[in-house]
C-alpha cells in the first residue's frame, strides 16, 4: 500500500541507526507495551508475568509500590491502598465521578483533578498512572537493552483535553518522552490496516474495562483518515461486572457489604462474566468476611437479560458517529472489534445485527492497540520502514468553545475537525483603556457553559490602552496532533503580542513534575541534571545535523549574511555539545531556533510548492 511517494529533505540524517521506541496501551484494566523489532511489531512480556499488566497499583506498608498481578491479589484485602481503574479518574474532578465510584476510595477533591488518600500519602491519578508507565518503561528498556527515544501512548478517542493532558503528564513523570498521544481505535486501525492492506471505510468498536470508543475511519492510498469518533467515557466491561454484582447481592440479600466484600463480589462477577463468554452457565460464589457464602448459578441467558441495556447503550455512539460522518451502516466495509469485553457473545451479536455483517476479530483484541501504537512510534522515532509510507489524519473528539454572554458557548473548533487545526477569532475591548480580558475555554457539545467541561480561563494581558471597541485582539486556538490545545493572542492594530497564561489549570507545571520526580528518587537532583544534560546534547546534535543538511539542500533560500549568521551559531553550538554545561546548550539551542525560524518557514514554503507542482501532474492523469 505504499502508493504515496514522499520526498523529505533532511529527514534521513542517520539511516542505519535504529532508535528504540515503544507503543504503550495504557488501559483501564490492562496495560501493555509493544515495539517494532527487525521490522516486526511485537508485544513485550514482563519478567514473570505475561504481556498484559493489570493496571493496578498498590501502595505497601513498607513504602514500596507494587504494580500488576502482585497488586491485584490485594485488591479485596487492602482496597483503600490498591488503586484499580485509575484511568477513570484521570483529569476528572470529584463532581465528574458517578456516585458509586465516589465511595470507592478516600478521595480528596483538588483543583482540576481528584486525589486519592492512601497510606503513602495523597496521590494524584497522574502519579498512580506514572507507576504503571514506569514498570512498562523498565520492561521495555531491559528487553530492548537501551534507553527509549520515546513512546506513543494511546488514549480513548473520546478523552477530552484534561484527560489527554493528564496522560501526557503521567508519561513525563515516568520519564518517557511522548512522541504522540494516539487514539486507541486509530491505533487498532493502523495495526489492522497495515496488516491487511485494507482500503475503504472501517469502524473500530472498542469496549474495554471502563471506556467505550467507536470510530469510523477511511483507509485509502496509505492514509488513515478518521471520519468521526464517539463513545462513552463511562461504559465498559466493569459495568457488566457491576450489573451482575447487583443481581448477585440481591439474591443473597447482601446489600450492606464492607468495601472489601463488595470488591470481592465484583472480582468474582468479573470471573463469571468472562466464563460465560464460553460457557452457558457458571456458579458465582464469594466467601464473605463474616463467614457466610454468597452464591448463585447464573446462566448466559440471565446474564444477557441483566446487561441488555448496557449492550443497547453502545449503539447510541455508533449511530452518532455514522451520522457525523454522513454515512449509513451499508457504507462500512468491516467492523474491527477491540477490547476484552468484545469477547462477550451478546456484543458480537449486537454488532453483527446492527451492521448486517460478522465483525472482524482476527487480530488479538488485547494486543491490537499496543501494536498500532508501536508501529507509529517506530515511524515517529525516525525508523520508517519500507512499508511505512502512510500518514495518519486524526480528529478532535469534542468541540472546543468559549464562553459568551449569558453563560452560552460559542463553538470555535467543532468535533471531528481534522487535527492539527487552528482557528482564529477576533475580540475587542468594551471599556476605555481596558488592558486585560479573560477568555473562558470549554470543551463539549452542549450549549450552556455549565454543561461543558471548563478547560481554563486564559487571561490576555498587555493590551495597549485604547478607546472601547478600538482594540482588535486576534486569538488563535491551536490544537496540535496530540489533540491538545494552546492559545495565542495578538492585538492587531498595534501588533502587540498579549501575554497570556496558556496552561490550563489541570495540567502539571514543570515545577510540579520536577517536584514529584524529586519525591520519587534518591539523588534526584543529580539524576535529573544528568538526564536533562543528555537530552540537551541529543537535541543539540540533532539540531546541528538537521540545520546543516538543510543548509546543504536549501542554502539558496538565504542571503549571504543570513547564512553566515546561522553557520556561526551552528559552530558555537557544536563546540558546546561535548561539554557538560546543559544551560549553555539550552540557550544556544533556543538561539538557533529563533535564528532559523525564517529559514524553516521558507523551506516549508518550498516544500509545499513542490507538493502543489506534484499534485498538478496527477491532475493531468485524471
Amino acid at each position: 500500500m505504499a502508493l504515496l511517494q514522499i520526498a523529505e529533505p533532511g529527514q534521513s540524517a542517520a539511516p542505519h541507526e535504529h532508535r528504540l521506541a515503544v507503543g504503550i496501551d495504557l488501559g483501564t484494566t490492562h496495560s501493555l507495551v509493544a515495539t517494532v523489532r527487525h521490522s516486526l511489531p511485537e508485544c513485550l512480556p514482563g519478567e514473570q508475568c505475561g504481556i498484559l499488566l493489570p493496571s493496578i497499583v498498590r501502595y505497601l506498608p513498607d513504602g514500596s509500590v507494587a504494580v500488576g498481578k502482585e497488586a491485584a491479589e490485594h485488591q479485596a484485602t487492602d482496597s483503600q491502598n490498591t488503586i484499580v481503574s485509575v484511568k477513570r479518574f484521570m483529569g476528572r474532578g470529584l463532581d465528574d465521578l458517578e456516585a458509586g465510584a465516589r465511595k470507592q476510595y478516600d478521595f480528596v477533591d483538588a483543583e482540576g483533578m481528584v486525589r486519592i488518600n492512601t497510606r503513602a500519602g495523597v496521590k494524584s491519578p497522574v502519579e498512580v498512572s506514572a507507576e504503571i508507565l514506569k514498570v512498562l518503561r523498565q520492561r521495555a528498556e531491559s528487553r530492548l537493552g537501551g534507553e527509549l527515544v520515546g513512546a506513543v501512548i494511546t488514549v480513548p478517542a473520546y478523552f477530552d483535553d484534561a484527560q489527554r493532558q493528564a496522560t501526557k503528564d503521567a508519561a513525563r513523570l515516568a520519564g518517557l518522552n511522548v512522541l504522540r498521544l494516539l487514539n486507541e481505535p486509530t491505533a487498532a486501525a493502523i495495526a489492522y490496516g497495515l496488516d491487511n492492506e485494507t482500503e475503504g471505510i472501517y469502524a473500530v468498536f472498542d469496549l474495554g474495562g471502563g471506556t467505550f470508543d467507536f470510530s469510523v475511519l477511511k483507509l485509502s492510498r496509505g492514509v488513515f483518515e478518521v471520519l468521526a469518533t464517539s463513545g462513552d467515557a463511562a461504559l465498559g466491561g466493569d459495568d457488566f461486572d457491576q450489573a451482575l454484582a447487583t443481581w448477585l447481592r440481591a439474591q443473597g440479600a447482601a446489600d450492606e457489604l464492607s468495601p472489601e466484600d463488595a470488591r470481592a463480589v465484583l472480582v468474582e462477577c468479573r470471573r463469571v462474566k468472562e466464563v460465560l463468554s464460553r460457557k452457558d452457565a457458571e456458579v458465582a460464589s464469594v466467601a464473605l468476611t463474616n463467614g457466610s457464602t454468597l452464591s448463585a448459578e447464573v446462566t448466559r441467558a440471565q446474564f444477557e437479560a441483566l446487561t441488555a441495556k448496557l449492550v443497547a447503550k453502545t449503539l447510541t455512539p455508533v449511530r452518532k458517529a455514522l451520522r457525523d460522518a454522513n454515512l449509513s451502516v451499508e457504507d462500512v466495509h468491516g467492523v474491527v472489534l477491540v477490547g476484552g469485553a468484545t469477547r462477550m457473545p451478546q456484543i458480537r451479536e449486537a454488532v453483527a445485527q446492527h451492521f448486517g455483517d460478522e465483525p472482524l476479530t482476527d487480530i488479538d483484541p488485547d494486543k491490537v492497540v499496543a501494536i498500532g501504537a508501536a508501529i507509529q512510534a517506530n515511524v515517529l522515532a525516525g525508523n520508517r520502514r519500507e512499508e511505512d509510507d502512510w500518514l495518519l489524519l486524526d480528529v478532535i473528539p469534542l468541540s472546543l468553545g468559549i464562553e459568551t454572554m449569558g453563560g452560552l458557548v460559542e463553538k470555535i473548533v467543532t468535533r471531528n475537525s481534522t487535527i492539527p487545526t487552528a482557528k482564529a477569532q477576533e475580540f475587542t475591548t468594551y471599556k476605555d483603556g481596558q488592558t486585560a480580558m479573560a477568555i473562558h475555554v470549554v470543551q463539549g457539545e452542549r450549549e450552556l457553559v455549565r454543561d461543558c467541561r471548563s478547560l481554563g480561563r486564559f487571561e490576555l494581558r498587555g493590551i495597549p490602552p485604547m478607546a472601547a471597541g478600538a482594540a482588535r485582539i486576534r486569538v488563535t486556538f491551536q490544537v496540535d496532533a496530540d489533540g491538545l490545545l494552546s492559545v495565542a493572542a495578538r492585538e492587531l492594530s498595534s501588533g502587540v503580542e498579549a501575554s497570556i497564561v496558556v496552561k490550563p489549570s489541570y495540567g502539571l507545571s514543570d515545577d510540579e513534575v520536577a517536584g514529584m520526580l524529586r519525591a520519587g528518587f534518591e539523588h534526584a537532583d543529580e539524576d535529573m541534571r544528568l538526564r536533562a544534560l543528555r537530552e540537551q546534547q541529543v537535541e543539540a546534535q540533532r539540531m546541528v545535523e538537521s540545520v546543516q543538511s538543510a543548509l546543504d539542500v536549501d542554502g539558496d533560500l538565504l542571503d549571504a549574511p543570513e547564512r553566515a549568521e546561522i553557520e556561526a551559531a551552528l559552530a558555537a553550538l557544536s563546540g558546546l555539545i561535548a561539554g557538560n554545561d546543559g544551560r549553555a546548550i539550552k540557550s544556544a539551542l533556543e538561539g538557533i531556533n529563533k535564528l532559523t525560524e525564517t529559514f524553516a518557514a521558507r523551506r516549508m514554503d518550498k516544500t509545499i510548492r513542490a507538493a502543489l507542482a506534484g499534485q498538478k501532474l496527477s491532475d493531468l492523469k485524471v
Binding site: L391, P420, Q615
Partner: protein, 178 residues
C-alpha cells in the same frame, strides 16, 4: 517572510481552479498529497521549530479542505474572495415560496419530534438533502456559468437555511436516541 502569506488562497493551495464546481475526488487527492508533504509527522524528529511550522501548514490545509469540501462554506469563501459579505446574520429576506416550503417542513419536523417518530425524521432528512443537492447545482450555475454573484449570495442564504433545519433534525434524532 510570513509563512501563512505564502499559502495563497485555498484553491491555489490545492491547485484547483477558483470555481464553485469541485470534483470531490480531485480535491481529496490534492488534499492528501499536500498533507503527505507537510504533515508534522513527516518532520517528527526534526527540531521543534520546523515541526511547529509544519503544524501551522497542516492546520491551514485542514481548514482549506474543510472549507472547499462542502457547498456552503465553499460558496461563502468564493463570495469572500470576491469581496462580498453575504450578510448572513442581518439579511433574512427570502422568496415567499421558499419560506412557505420551509415552514411546512419545519412543522413536519416538529410533529415528528413530538411523536418521537424516528422514521419520519429520517425521511425528512433525506428530503432536505435532496433539496440541498438541487440547490447546489443551481449555485454552480450562478457562480461558474453566469458569474451572477448576487443570485449566488441569495441562494447561499437559502442553502444555509436548509442546513440549519438538517442540523435541527440531527439533534432531534440524537435526543430521541438517548
Amino acid at each position: 517572510m510570513n509563512a501563512s502569506n505564502a499559502f495563497g488562497d485555498y484553491f491555489a493551495l490545492f491547485g484547483l481552479p477558483r470555481r464553485f464546481a469541485v470534483d470531490p475526488t480531485v480535491l481529496e487527492s490534492a488534499y492528501l498529497d499536500v498533507q503527505a508533504k507537510i504533515h508534522p509527522d513527516r518532520f517528527s524528529h526534526m527540531p521543534e521549530n520546523e515541526r511547529r511550522v509544519a503544524m501551522q501548514w497542516a492546520s491551514h490545509a485542514n481548514e482549506g479542505y474543510r472549507v472547499l469540501r462542502r457547498a456552503v462554506p465553499r460558496a461563502r469563501y468564493l463570495l469572500h474572495l470576491a469581496g462580498i459579505d453575504p450578510q448572513i446574520e442581518s439579511n433574512t429576506a427570502m422568496p415567499a415560496d421558499f419560506l412557505m416550503r420551509q415552514m411546512l417542513l419545519r412543522e413536519a419536523v416538529e410533529e415528528a419530534q413530538d411523536d418521537a417518530d424516528v422514521e419520519a425524521l429520517d425521511g425528512l432528512l433525506r428530503e432536505l438533502r435532496r433539496d440541498a443537492r438541487a440547490m447546489e447545482q443551481q449555485l454552480a450555475g450562478d457562480f461558474d456559468e453566469h458569474g451572477d454573484l448576487i443570485a449566488a449570495t441569495a441562494r447561499v442564504r437559502q442553502l444555509m437555511f436548509l442546513e440549519r433545519l438538517q442540523e435541527d433534525i440531527g439533534s432531534a434524532l440524537e435526543t430521541l436516541e438517548n
